[in-house]
């Protein structure tokens, strides 16, 4: 029980800012503002309607202040929860609560990052940890590599199976005009790419791009009067299991198990009812872990599950239809883009990569498998 009402709020607008490598001098707040402008245009609302502001970026200590000043608004409800890439799934739950309680009527959730332009070191300053830093882990890659090593050891998961996740993402990306990657990718190419942290080559690891975006949320009665069909928040769940990889209880089981259960319970749905999946694929092992923990295959079977194009275009389970963090874009905290793609799929706006769907699951991951948050979305037919 999380106190949230099923379909108590809807997403009515969704948009990316410029992605990839943005113009020199643009900052994360510029990209948030651009995303908000586009997302408001998407639903026919204006900044004057916005009284709830939720945002997160690693490049501004008090982004709620910076963004309010920039937009010239004084929002009644503000939330700048930052828990890594899943922050925006947490924001969705908070926005549902705020709308349900009357703390705001129209909430925007925004993200912006210029990590490609300014460099990862500057975009996301590493904290010193006396129990990890001396060993020079290349974070976050080494942490996820440790999790992959454990999955390989316990379940016989193979590098080729992880590579299949990257290849599926690339096939989807080739149908997304704004995806960063434009060329096909094969399993041998993934395996023979530059090794970063075994078992991961650079092709097992998400992109480093700039980018941002926003979504707009409001109450169902208001949502039905706007430009496009509302996308309802049917379920939300969240779990924090640790901050540092050395404190993760079991490297083969993520908090997605708990966050998924909560979201399914709230939605009154199960894995079999989900038509399209958007999973936070910062690394190829993530997709495998989340497919298991969210109930799409038994624990340990994720590697075999993704073989033979099952999650690729034309496969039986569409996963990461925008091309994912692996091939579409990854500005550091990728969660918002999963929500944007889920909304577009449910509105049937995805052109060649469109899949038949009435329900979508967007699952966010933050830190080093540390924070997990699941959002289940559905069309009017599912309410």
């Amino acid at each position: 029980m999380n106190g949230l009402q099923r379909a108590g709020a809807a997403i009515v607008g969704a948009a990316e800012s410029h992605l990839g490598h943005v113009a020199e001098g643009l900052n994360p707040i510029d990209l948030m503002a651009q995303g908000i402008h586009r997302a408001l245009d998407d639903c026919g609302l204006s900044l004057r309607d916005v009284d709830g502001l939720l945002c997160a970026t690693t490049q501004s200590r008090t982004s709620g202040l910076s963004l309010s000043e920039y937009l010239g608004i004084s929002p009644a409800f503000v939330d700048t929860t930052i828990l890594g890439g899943s922050s925006f799934m947490f924001h969705v739950a908070h926005a549902v609560a705020a709308i349900q309680l009357g703390m705001c009527r129209v909430a925007v959730i925004a993200y912006g990052s210029t990590q490609r332009s300014v460099g990862r070191r500057q975009a996301s300053v590493r904290e010193i940890n006396p129990f990890e830093t001396p060993y020079r882990p290349f974070l976050p890659s080494s942490a996820y590599a440790l999790a992959a090593s454990r999955h390989m050891h316990q379940y016989g998961t193979k590098r080729e199976q992880m590579a299949a996740v990257a290849v599926a993402a690339r096939e989807w990306a080739l149908m997304n005009p704004v995806a960063w990657e434009k060329k096909p990718l094969t399993i041998p190419e993934v395996l023979s790419a530059r090794m970063v942290s075994y078992p991961f080559t650079v092709r097992d690891i998400c992109l480093v791009t700039d980018g941002g975006g926003a979504i707009v949320m409001t109450a169902p009665d208001h949502a039905r009067s706007l430009k496009k069909a509302p996308v309802y928040v049917l379920g939300c769940g969240q779990a924090i299991t640790h901050a540092n990889i050395s404190s993760m209880p079991d490297l083969t089981v993520t908090g997605a198990l708990a966050s998924g259960r909560q979201a399914y319970a709230m939605a009154g749905l199960g894995p079999d009812d989900i038509d399209v999946l958007e999973l936070y694929d910062a690394f190829t092992i993530n997709t495998i872990l989340f497919l298991e923990d969210l109930g799409f295959c038994p624990k340990g079977e994720g590697g075999r599950f993704v073989e033979n194009g099952r999650i690729a275009p034309g496969g039986s389970l569409p996963v990461n239809t925008n091309g994912g963090g692996l091939s579409y874009c990854h500005p550091g905290m990728y969660g918002l883009f999963l929500l944007i793609e889920a909304v577009r799929q449910l509105r049937q706006e995805c052109g060649p990569r469109q899949v038949p769907c009435e329900t979508a699951l967007a699952h966010g991951n933050g830190g080093v498998l540390s924070s997990q948050a699941t959002v289940i979305l559905g069309t009017e037919a599912t309410v």
Binding site: P130, F131, E132, P134, Y135, R136, P137, F138, S141, S142, A145, L146, A147, A148, S149, R150, H153, R194, M195, V196, S197, Y198, P199, N244, I245, S246, S247, L251
Partner: protein, 125 residues
Amino acid sequence: MEQSPLAVYQAHLDKGELAYQYSPQAGKAVFYPRVICSYTGSANLEWRVSAGLGTVYATTVTHPAQGDPYNIVLIDMDEGFRLMSRVEDMPPEAVRIGMRVRFRVHRPGGDEPPYPVFVPEEVSF
């Protein structure tokens, strides 16, 4: 509090010891050292010194842009706590999950405090 948990831990390392905390209420080892027990919320934590034996729980070899690849591991100590470390005295890619290892203190010198590393444990027959 006269000394921070980190200072106590590092003082043990100075003496060549790997120290950890023990929660009598939980009956469990606690690591990294802290002020409040993460199992019980109690401030009652005892210091103990590890016998130094553990098992590799997870391993990766990181390939820096410059310089040689190196190993990063998580070690499950026999006393029931886990820590990040490195296994030395063997090629980094030869480290295997399940391998028995023994603690050794590494003293980097300069301003850097000593920290624990591990070496393969000789198996006796």
